[in-house]
Symmetry: C2
Subunit: 272 residues, 2 copies
């Protein structure tokens, strides 16, 4: 299987760390800030393609992570979403042309199956730039917004922040990926409802093993006042996100990309 | 005495909370995000002037806080520093004109004695916009950069982040306020060195009383994994900042503003 994830968000929101945490793979060093900032000075939001082979339990997945260094980091971010939106459209375009070939050998396919959009945890509300790009992404790709660095927010702050984000998403008509609820599978339906109710997922990322105050060794962020745990569902929604992406909904993410988003793109191209 | 502080930084960095924590005064509600965001939609970085009477121990201080809502929050932040820099210059201008009057009654004086610049705790380095505005502020006002929401960073992250900020500040020639070291007062000199070594000060802000895991009631942020304490010097530099601003260096901040920054401004005006 071939699974392509795109991570979008300004630098410093823990995107690299989250990918490494999700896939327990050192795809790139989170500390390598200098290299990525050099790219930003070219004032070009490039997309960085990072490939890896994953062996998640019983299946082997070709994972591609599309990073978007520089997005939102400039003094002037006007149209900084354009390279990202173009990239998504281009993959549909490339696939479409390959499909139209009389001889169709092994197609290269980088169509994005899931786009994780990282929201800065200000505690206030979505920024104008967030709204601009999420609107454009939501109609083209399975958009999964996450609250980055959720260990910045107390329980109350987080609940309020999530509510405000959901209000703005509804008011602005931003399309978010929602796990489908199958009526014939009560347990699966319940799981889908739980996932949907938790969105946007709050995220804490870490590949470090640390020891909690009560002696457990966990993946987490060790502060002087305690350990924020990645896999503790009271601390954040990391397990829900991982479950959605890798366990329960990878197939649905792939299918909706091929059946819905790709077909939308083809139709729009045919009409113009 | 009349003390004017300016807080500069994008929204959501805890500026309002910090002012309330510093002065134990509800100057404005940190939760009132909606009102301030309305101003931003006018695409105008205004300055908001908040006045209060302070009774700090033995002296009474007329405190004015200049807030800068909207700074850095737009899609295009080009020249968003201009209203802020203009405001600082304008206060010198206004004072200068009053001084030049034949009849000089009670002058109104809003010259900024200290400018707290809030740095977003990305863990990476200063953003281009930070550098742009700090360069311009540093030559006009006592500039005190702080690492906002320092409870976002683990001990190691924080130390590295501070070091990188100091490297960029030096490389870019940004002028930071440094407490003067008087050679005839060993204790004061040692205190000044300790303050200077801690810069940029890491900040955690909170006006809430919470109970720590070991039963103490403190000002802090209560997470499920522990309490980040405002006045614990292992957790952040809040006490150092408060000491500098209110206890040990308020007079020096006022004097350098009147003797150094104001005189610089006057000279530049005379020469043109
Ligand atoms: N508070 C907090 N910091 C994090 C988290 N994940 C990563 N970081 C830190 O944030 C900084 C930037 O992380 P990085 O993964 O490089 O962010 P990127 O620029 O978005 O790829 C590093 O110092 C990380 O240790 C998190 O969940 N919470
Ligand atoms: N993690 C963290 N959050 C803070 C801190 N200070 C304030 N906040 C939260 O950040 C959000 C924005 O604070 P506010 O003072 O309104 O920020 P402002 O927009 O810069 O004035 C609120 O939810 C605060 O509770 C802090 O030191 N650490």
């Amino acid at each position: 299987a071939h699974f392509t994830i795109m991570v979008v968000g300004e630098s410093g929101l823990g995107k690299t760390t989250l990918i490494n945490t999700l896939f327990s793979t050192e795809l790139s060093s989170a500390k390598d800030y200098r290299r990525r900032h050099v790219k930003q000075l070219d004032k070009l939001t490039e997309v960085e393609i990072i490939k890896a082979e994953l062996e998640e339990k019983s299946f082997k997945v070709k994972l591609t992570v599309i990073d978007t260094p520089g997005f939102g980091d400039y003094v002037n971010n006007k149209d900084s979403w354009a390279p990202i939106i173009d990239f998504v459209d281009d993959q549909h375009e490339l696939y479409m042309r390959q499909e139209q070939q009389p001889q169709r050998e092994e197609k290269s396919d980088l169509r994005v199956h899931a786009c994780l959009y990282f929201i800065r945890p200000t505690g206030h509300t979505l920024k104008p730039l967030d709204i601009e790009i999420m609107k454009r992404l939501g109609t083209r790709v399975n958009l999964i917004p996450v609250v980055a660095k959720a260990d910045t927010l107390t329980q109350n702050d987080l609940a309020l922040f999530k509510k405000r984000i959901r209000d703005v998403v509804n008011a602005q008509g931003i399309r978010i990926y929602t796990p489908p609820v199958e009526t014939d599978d009560e347990q699966g339906a319940e799981h889908a409802r739980i996932l949907a109710a938790a969105m946007p997922f709050s995220i804490i990322g870490s590949t470090e093993d640390v020891t909690t105050l009560d002696g457990r060794v966990v993946k987490g962020r060790e502060y002087l006042w305690g350990v924020a745990e990645v896999e503790n569902e009271n601390h954040c929604d990391f397990k829900k996100l991982r479950s959605l992406l890798i366990r329960t909904h990878m197939l649905d993410l792939i299918n909706t990309t091929e059946d819905l988003h790709y077909e939308n793109y083809r139709q729009q191209q045919m009409e113009t």
